[in-house]
């Protein structure tokens, strides 16, 4: 697989703040690549540089071989952007919004008409096409936004927080569209998100970004495996004085055991297979279990591992909060 996006020490400074700090990654053709990080980590800045909206302070990137600084007009031709904000024009109908974009991408009128119907049916908006966007719900606006980004069938589609502020069903629908695009059009998709589940279900590979630096790049499952497996938590009713540690450690898949009173926290590989063996060992010693749980690693834990912080604990800057409120307001309006 050829790499379709390649960054070379991509850097952006705003005054003293380094928003994106010598970032290097490559995205393969036909891949769904996610940039995961909290608000203010530099995700949008990165996407804005890749889509030629911002000039890098240092370093550069190439998109389909075109340099984002030197060949910006070529880059613009091959990419599509679905921004974080809802930018469709409320006073126009869905179809008029798409027609405007088709003309900005210099599509022939007949081609444009055909494309518009195609993208509208892809996002299931055909029946609302001739209604003013004003009357659309937040989810419909986001879908129209997606359709706009697709109008010229870009080679690479950039999605900035594609499901920010949307309800659970709409999010699932948007994820389906994105997967379908990759399948039907072999489109490369670059998205940013601060939702773990989004990165997990959608992306082939993710890059975790924090304070403008890439911490790690890998597939979600590899990242989870890198945590060293599953955790079994065990509470015993009796046997405070009995030490089970050595008994557990004889099981080959067990890597680490921590004991606190009669509470055990055991790090294992292949938790499902090891759990019955552990239970058997306990019963053999005539001890009784009051509670047992198997914890599979999540991207949340991966995130904690690589950044030292839990994603949900990180508060956004006031600018982000304000922006979020504005988006929510428009969605609810």
């Amino acid at each position: 697989m050829a790499s379709i996006i390649q960054t070379y020490d991509l850097t952006k400074r705003f005054g003293k703040l380094i928003a994106v700090d010598h970032v290097n990654f490559s995205v393969n053709e036909g891949e769904i690549f996610g940039l995961l990080g909290p608000n203010g980590a530099g995700k949008t800045t990165t996407i804005n540089m890749l889509t030629t909206l911002l000039k890098p302070t240092d370093g550069t990137a190439s998109i389909l071989g075109y340099d984002i600084v030197k060949d910006e007009s070529m880059v613009r031709r091959v990419i599509g952007l679905v921004p974080q904000d809802l930018t469709v024009d409320e006073d126009l109908t869905g179809r008029e919004n798409l027609m405007l974009h088709a003309r900005l991408y210099h599509l022939d009128k007949d081609v444009a008409k055909k494309r518009i119907n195609e993208v509208l049916s892809l996002v299931n908006l055909l029946e609302f096409a001739d209604k003013k966007v004003e009357t659309y719900s937040g989810g419909m606006r986001k879908r129209l936004e997606l359709a706009e980004g697709l109008i010229h069938y870009p080679k690479i589609l950039f999605l900035d927080e594609p499901t920010l502020g949307l309800d659970v069903q709409t999010r699932a629908v948007i994820w389906d569209y994105i997967k379908q695009l990759r399948k039907d059009h072999h489109m490369t998709i670059f998205l940013t998100t601060h939702y773990m589940d989004e990165a997990d279900t959608l992306c082939d590979r993710i890059a975790i970004i924090d304070y403008g630096r890439i911490k790690v790049i890998d597939s979600p499952s590899n990242l989870k495996d890198s945590l060293g497996g599953d955790i079994i938590e065990l509470d015993l009713i009796n046997g405070i004085n009995t030490n089970m540690e050595s008994a557990f450690l004889t099981i080959p898949q067990v890597k680490e055991v921590k004991k606190e009173g009669n509470h055990y926290r055991i790090k294992v590989m292949k938790g499902e297979e090891v759990l019955p063996i552990i239970v058997k060992r306990v019963v053999e010693r005539d001890l009784r279990i009051s509670r047992v749980s198997l914890i599979k690693p999540t991207l949340d834990q991966v995130y904690l591992e690589y950044t030292g912080r839990l994603l949900r604990e990180i508060e956004g800057s006031s600018e982000d909060v304000w922006r979020m409120r504005r988006i929510l307001k428009r969605i609810r309006a």
């Binding site: 705003f14 804005n48 889509t51 030629t52 909206l53 911002l54 000039k55 007009s73 613009r76 031709r77 990419i79 952007l81 921004p83 974080q84 904000d85 809802l86 930018t87 024009d89 006073d91 126009l92 008029e96 027609m99 405007l100 974009h101 003309r103 900005l104 991408y105 210099h106 706009e148």
Partner: protein, 286 residues
């Protein structure tokens, strides 16, 4: 490039004609100005001769005196004794000023709602974005000025008795030149402004001097000399004077007309070129 400019203008036109309320509001304000200000200020009443004085004067002299007063008025108010007619001509330029201010506002909104970013990602020339904004502003300004012109006609604007196509074309050309210059100026000023509050502050600062330090509402001759200095560099003065000439006669003083047009053409050219260049450079994201 023509195609993308046209597409962008069409977007604005669609938005505009679908808001009849806004169009109405934009016309009501100048109409109120005309009605309240233009009708209230009765020039010939201001210096009419009280009846007791007329009685004392020999009848053949009153005619000469009233003729004298009329001449003084005509001389001061550029050829009319009717203040409503005077201010109507100026109000057409003011309408252009107001619509140009709004064209800057629409860029602030487009930036605010992220629409501008979409345009910047599209493979179009950045000049097209600005040219489309200026063109639409010009179109809207002229249409609204013509609407106000017809309202003024209905309310007693006194046209010259042989008003013809040349007069109308003269008015349109004047409005066009003024509109191109002012729209470019306001777009260049507001291109980097991100909040509409800041925009309103900047625009209001320019609005008042442009409006009052001109011959749109009052004759320049009556102003103190320092104000005259400003008014003489104000394109609205030249446009108002020009429109007044075309409304009041068709025996033109070519020297004055040419001088006015010369100023307006230089104004429109300079500001549109400088404005578009500045705006195009400033049309960055951060």
């Amino acid at each position: 490039m023509i195609d993308e400019i046209f597409a962008l203008i069409m977007r604005e036109v669609k938005k505009w004609v679908r808001e009849p309320f806004l169009i109405l509001m934009m016309i009501i304000q100048p109409t109120l100005w005309l009605g309240l200000f233009g009708k209230a200020f009765n020039l010939s009443g201001l210096i009419s001769i009280p009846p007791e004085i007329i009685k004392e004067l020999p009848p053949d002299k009153t005619h000469i005196i009233s003729d004298l007063f009329n001449r003084i008025l005509q001389n001061t108010f550029g050829g009319t004794t009717d203040y409503f007619t005077y201010i109507s001509a100026g109000m057409l330029s003011i309408v252009i000023l107001f619509t140009s201010m709004f064209s800057g506002m629409s860029i602030v909104w487009d930036r605010r709602f992220g629409f501008l970013n979409k345009l910047l990602v599209a493979p179009i020339s950045r000049c097209s974005i600005i040219i489309a904004k200026v063109s639409f502003s010009v179109l809207r300004g002229i249409v609204q000025a013509l609407l106000v012109f017809s309202i003024a006609l209905a309310f007693g604007l006194k046209l010259t008795h042989n008003f013809n196509l040349i007069n109308l074309l003269g008015i349109l050309t004047t409005l066009l030149l003024l509109s191109i210059g002012l729209s470019s100026l306001f777009i260049a000023i507001t291109i980097r402004i991100k909040s509409w509050e800041a925009h309103a502050a900047v625009v209001n600062l320019l609005n008042l001097p442009l409006m009052f330090a001109s011959s749109a509402l009052f004759p320049i001759k009556q102003m103190p000399s320092w104000l005259q200095m400003i008014a003489k560099f104000n394109p609205i003065s030249y446009a108002s004077d020009n429109i007044r000439i075309f409304i009041l006669s068709n025996e033109f003083n070519m020297q004055i007309l040419l001088h006015n047009f010369e100023f307006l053409i230089i104004f429109a050219l300079t500001f549109s070129i400088v404005g578009i260049l500045v705006a195009e450079r400033m049309l960055k994201f951060d």
